[in-house]
Symmetry: C2
Subunit: 224 residues, 2 copies
């Protein structure tokens, strides 16, 4: 909102209850989303209070209700924004008729590597039995990822792999394991194998490695 719209001539700005003075709206929203994300990763959203989130963001706690309705609303906005890069990846993949398994692997792993908080949010609020964003993540991401992976494996010739004892119906599980596990289990991999998948050079090595493995399973032709 432009400030000229709020201040008409010499009339003082009319503000709704709790409307923040001073700070621009976008900056306050941004600071709150960042603070909610940091605290969600550090301690989980249950342990974070509106007070602790507002403190971390450097704004008045009332701003949470003003902009997001509640801590829940802020959490949901934060999760949706955090999922955005992967959502975009899925949407462009679903839209592209000729996308290959290799392109998908590359795009998806790059999206995860560039947004290190997403795997951590999934560990916190999707995988646990009472994960707060489980349904949101299922509806927005998982529901599309399944059919997409199955389609990509089919087009890459997954059914031919059955000759060698490989189960075509389980190949999407393998692809997901190779693409997602390193980021989900990053702290473990770093300790066990000195591999940090969020390090840019390591991400590239992992992608090249996974593409080489897929090439051995499917033949390199189908992956380009």
């Amino acid at each position: 909102m432009r400030s000229g719209k709020r201040n008409r001539g010499s009339t003082p700005a009319v503000r709704g209850p709790g409307r923040p003075a001073g700070e621009p709206a976008a900056a306050v929203r941004r600071a709150l989303i960042d603070a909610a994300r940091t605290l969600c990763i550090e301690t989980g959203l249950d342990a974070a209070t509106t007070k602790s989130i507002a403190e971390r963001a450097g704004v008045n706690p009332a701003m949470i209700n003003y902009y997001f309705g509640s801590k829940e609303g802020l959490g949901r906005a934060m999760m949706l924004e955090s999922m955005q890069p992967v959502l975009e990846q899925l949407e462009s993949a679903v839209g592209a008729a000729a996308l290959s398994l290799g392109e998908f692997m590359r795009g998806y792993m790059r999206a995860l590597a560039s947004n290190p908080w997403l795997p951590q949010l999934v560990v916190r609020e999707v995988l646990p039995a009472n994960g707060r964003f489980r349904e949101l993540f299922f509806d927005e991401i998982v529901a599309h990822a399944g059919p997409l992976l199955r389609g990509l494996v089919d087009r890459a010739g997954g059914s031919q792999a059955a000759d060698t004892g490989v189960d075509p119906a389980l190949l999407p599980v393998t692809i997901a394991s190779m693409a997602v596990f390193p980021f989900l289990a990053a702290p473990v991999l770093e300790r066990a194998l000195d591999v940090n998948p969020f390090d840019a050079a390591t991400t590239d090595r992992l992608i090249a490695h996974n593409l080489a493995l897929l090439g051995r399973l499917f033949g390199t032709r189908t992956l380009q």
Copy 2:
């Protein structure tokens, strides 16, 4: 402790402070460990109080301090017991000079499939930044799993895979992804792909599938 040792002749039993009457010690400990595990998976240990754990176990809350010193002590005993099947798997693998990658894959996946709470405890208390059992899990399992996986990959001829663009140093990451991710991400896989890795028939299919994939990467000879 045998009861004859506590009850000397007709003298009433002398009990230390808080020593439970009636219930046998093993049963009380068992009930507390089971309750702690259930609540840790359902809500996380932070949210579980000694009162709620004792209530779930059907025992007096004082029994937690009596047997385990504290909620922390109970949690640690519960985690150590839950890791036991995988620890045994690792120990026998480290001890076996001629163990193959295939045998390890089979044994490790069976251990995870038969102990569905372990992956859930890892999601709750190992993978998050402030995971309460992160160090315990790292020291007991991760520290041994890294060298073991590297050794198995080496012996299976992983270095030869480099000719085809596969990175031998990343093969242990791939093996861990294939063996662990399905159990860690079980709720997601069930929704996305209708695959429940804890279902006995599905576990067997996943193991056979992974062994077939390893066979294509390493040759079947080295996996037997």
